[in-house]
Subunit: 244 residues, 2 copies
């Protein structure tokens, strides 16, 4: 029996944003693997084993899914958003690279999803309407100095910026450091968007000028967007013009 | 009668990547507006008027849709990919800003879609697995010098880069200039991905080291990804590790 591994994006939360091809992969799955809150979005059914796991065990989870596929199962790893953007797809290929040679020949497919910055941008208007970058603020896997250096260069390039994983209980100070850097280098009325739990019933979107941004406006469920010098408000919408 | 305007992303091409909420908005539409090839993806039905229009008339198209909504119709502007990423959403808000005051109070919603870089990345593996930027190479609306300056700064930041609209018949030389800049500043084996017509029956994915990249590998249906210094191949996949 030939197994398979699909790494699927569930989108930011709303069921209306899960793509049909992801639903189809879930229908064919024998095993669904993922972080507890994402696996809890999957309806149980006969013949489907659910394998919820804790945060911060991405490599173990990836290896488990690869083993299941190598044994002939149809494994689906679920990520929120898009699996290729600060989520499980890279962890799977890291596990393939350091794993047994036959894993390289497995049937592995990545199915994209609506990543948080696209959903947050849509909810606010069109702040990603021109050149932009996406930066993971978590320093679990890289020094925070590198994060600040990238932000500094992105300001020089006048990119709109989307910040993923801005703040957690274990690292409350870094987002404050980022705000300090921004306040030092950017005009005080530069627009910031705090999009929390976007597309879920708990969604909150706050648009503030940089000078009113506070560290506690962000948590791990928040996607933060910093406008470019051209980003502006029109009525209740925020957008970045195409010529910027 | 109160009208509405939805700006909806159809994703990169495959029907399996159109979200349920976009299909629902199309079911309720009285008018669908968009560039000819995107409107041609919509099935005709009674009570639905289709308004295909040519390329490069984004503002006219946006105004037409806003007028239809202001008259009480349910207008849907269709974009490929995500409407907020180098597509129609910004043009709509530009038209709102320069249009009659009542347009600001219209019921306008943006529905996100799978943008080309996510689909291209998924087809190749996980090249966007760490900090990245997205740059529109078209100089229809900005000087090409600004594009090159952004690329230069993004190289310094070691971002993975996704290039939209790399090359067209009317500007064949710019992508060649970009390759010259890259060959000048980046190691020759830096990985590049040319993803053409991604998720359609015509899909072609080519992964080459920078030194083998040629301008004619790109056209207007191609999304180009340049890896960071950490992006690597493992078997038939390309990915960027999470610690980079």
């Amino acid at each position: 029996m030939t197994g398979s591994l699909v790494i699927a994006g569930l989108g930011p939360g709303a069921e209306g944003m899960v793509t049909p091809e992801v639903l189809e992969a879930l229908d064919r799955a024998t095993d669904v693997i993922g972080y507890i809150p994402y696996v809890s979005r999957i309806s149980p059914r006969d013949g489907l084993r659910l394998h919820p796991s804790d945060n911060r065990v991405e490599l173990d989870r990836a290896r488990h899914a690869l083993e299941l596929a190598a044994q002939g199962n149809h494994a689906v790893i679920v990520s929120s958003g898009d699996p290729g953007v600060f989520a499980m797809a890279s962890a799977v290929f890291e596990a393939v690279e350091s794993g047994p040679a036959p894993w390289r020949d497995l049937d592995i497919r990545v199915l994209p999803g609506i990543t948080a910055m696209l959903a947050a941008a849509a909810a606010a208007g069109a702040p990603l309407g021109h050149d932009f970058c996406a930066i993971n603020l978590s320093d679990n896997l890289k020094p925070f100095d590198l994060v600040l250096r990238r932000v500094h260069l992105a300001l020089e390039a006048d990119f709109v910026m989307a910040f993923y994983n801005p703040r957690s209980a274990s690292r409350p100070h870094q987002f404050a450091s980022l705000l300090d850097l921004l306040n030092d280098q950017v005009e005080p009325d530069r627009l910031m968007i705090f999009a929390r739990a976007v597309t879920t019933p708990q969604q909150e979107i706050h648009v503030v000028p940089l000078q009113e941004a506070r560290p506690e406006m962000a948590d791990m469920r928040t996607l933060v967007i910093l406008g470019s010098s051209a980003t502006r408000r029109i009525g209740r919408f925020v957008y970045t013009p195409r010529r910027a």
